[in-house]
Amino acid sequence: MAMMPPSTPGTPTVAVAPQAIIIEPGSTSSIRQRRTGGKILSYALLTFAGLFFAIPLLWTISSSLQTWQELRSYVPHFLPEMPQWNNYIQVFTLVPFARWMLNSLTIVLINIPGTILTATLTAYAFARFNFVGKNVWFVLLLSTMMIPAIVTFIPQYLLFFNLKFIDTYIPLTIGSWLGGSAFMVFLLRQFIMTIPRELDEAAIVDGANPLRILFSVIMPLMKPALITVAILQFLADWNDFFGPFIYINTMLKYTAAVGLRTFQTMALEITDPRDHLLMAGAAIMTIPVLILFAVAQRYFVSGVVMSGLKL
């Protein structure tokens, strides 16, 4: 270990050095030079990628505050001449955008408790009980992730059509009360399996039944995983387009996603180009997600990592 060159502590720097591939371990000056070169290159690449991601975001804000004449000028205005805050008001007065957002939120609020309850129950069964046929059911659960949604979408539509559930939120919410998505069950199962069984056993000695153990021993310890699931459910519902698009017919019952898409082409009292208003709508629709991200940043990341690595 004493021979270790000074350039290799902690996390590796994986920047691509432009010069010298072969280095003498010990010649500190050449390493330092190499590292500075690498750093500059890293920053250059990071900035380039950063611009690719940032420009459309900044343009959303800037263009949503412009007049349509500005936005349609041949030479683009990077900043609005005079910020048109009125655009944001117009989005709410021309179309029932507030109502659409509220509808999306309603679906989210119905689905989150559903998933938390039923996906946890399913995950608990798979993580803690050795019932007959368990492995078969588990493989079936995972295989549902591979089948394209469109295959079951058509017959599900026919099912809900025959049950007269069209134009209600039932088709959009029933799934989350029946186990949620396979992915979330899997994620929760992985998490429960990390909780020591000794805790269950201690509760059994105290006379607790399995449901009691779930609610008072396991679920309190699952808080990070449950928050992650709630976030994933929020994102799924907030972004869902085809579900509400096909099941909801009444304009006032639209979700924000369907509403924004319809806003592109729907007949309104104004006939001017509405790109600036669409941009304002896109920004408004994104704000709740950004707020959620700011509040619960670490759960976003942990959720992705938990779900991604062990499959």
Binding site: L46, V75, F129, P155, F241, F242
Partner: protein, 313 residues
């Protein structure tokens, strides 16, 4: 536990089941009930029903008429959009999946350094993945507008006299969609999964490589990338499944146009089902499509045995 002695007597059939095992079955299936209802009611049931429908002609209004394998024969022989939409979907997947997987990996490698301000970059890269799909498609339709769009203004500024028409041009519509998806996904989940994968690589390996005289590029090539192959594999499998099913962005941006240039296979199924109400034919297309996706996934899993390196094996 109290009624263990009584339950011993209720053993039925040939196989004796211990009271503990009975308990496991009872609670296991009890807690599984909501999911089982959903699995049969929303997945197996509808799946089997659509399999039946795929052998019928059904327009929702009148009862399904059994037509045997005609739908399956027709799709290969009579449907002009069948092969072209399949080819288009393949083109989209072949271009977008490698760009997206290796792009995310590259960004993750860049972010996995101890540079100052790296968290700002990480947050910035991640933010577009939070923008809802509908919002990002609308944003890019405006950005990529052939006359007034910011992108073409920039290209004209760079001296390109005749910039592409993007969504309005049938040669550029798929690249435009790929651009939207790359913007919205390169820095998202995939990149985070790669970052987690990178952090799982033991630093001793880099130390050893450095002692052997490996430079930064060689360390990336011979240490980082081989150890990331499980993550690459995972992201590729999911990426292919996702890319083949793509059509939400195409539907919102162009509804399959211009001139059918974004008419993907999943969109073809959708149009047959919900615009033309050819439910039987759409079900047949969907089943064919499911088989293609499952087969491709299994092939990838086969290939992975030779190409993926798992540590500790």
């Amino acid at each position: 536990m109290a009624n263990a002695t009584t339950s011993l007597k209720v053993v039925s059939g040939r196989r004796r089941m211990s009271p503990a095992q009975r308990r496991q079955n009872l609670y296991g299936y009890l807690f599984l009930t909501p999911w089982l209802i959903g699995f049969f009611g929303l997945f197996i049931g509808p799946g089997l029903y659509s399999f039946y429908l795929s052998f019928t002609k059904y327009d929702v209004i009148s009862a399904p008429i059994f037509v045997a394998t005609r739908n399956y024969v027709d799709m290969f022989t009579k449907d002009d959009l069948f092969w072209s939409s399949l080819a288009r979907t393949g083109y989209y997947a072949i271009v977008s999946v490698p760009l997206s997987v290796f792009g995310s990996m590259f960004l993750a490698i860049l972010l996995n350094s101890k540079l100052r301000g790296i968290t700002i970059f990480r947050t910035l890269f991640f933010m577009p993945s939070l923008v809802p799909l509908v919002a990002s498609v609308i944003l890019f339709k405006i950005l990529l507008n052939s006359d007034f769009g910011l992108v073409n203004a920039g290209l004209r500024g760079l001296g390109i006299q005749d910039p592409p028409g993007w969504f309005a041009d049938s040669r550029w519509s798929i690249p435009s969609l790929i651009l939207v998806r790359l913007w919205g996904s390169l820095g998202g989940t995939q990149m985070i999964i790669f970052l987690a994968g990178l952090q799982g690589i033991p630093t001793e390996l880099y130390d050893a490589a450095s002692i052997d005289g490996a430079g930064a590029w060689q360390r990336t090539r011979h240490v980082t990338i081989p150890l990331l192959t499980p993550t690459i594999f995972f992201n590729t499998v999911l990426g292919v499944i996702g890319a083949l099913q793509t059509f939400a962005a195409a539907f919102i941006a162009t509804e399959g146009g211009p001139n059918f240039s974004t008419w993907f296979f999943a969109l073809h199924i959708w149009k047959q089902a919900f615009d033309y109400f050819n439910m039987g034919y759409a079900a047949a297309l969907a089943w064919f499509f499911a088989l293609v996706i499952v087969a491709l996934t299994l092939v990838q899993m086969r290939l992975s045995r030779r190409m993926v390196f798992y540590m500790g094996e």
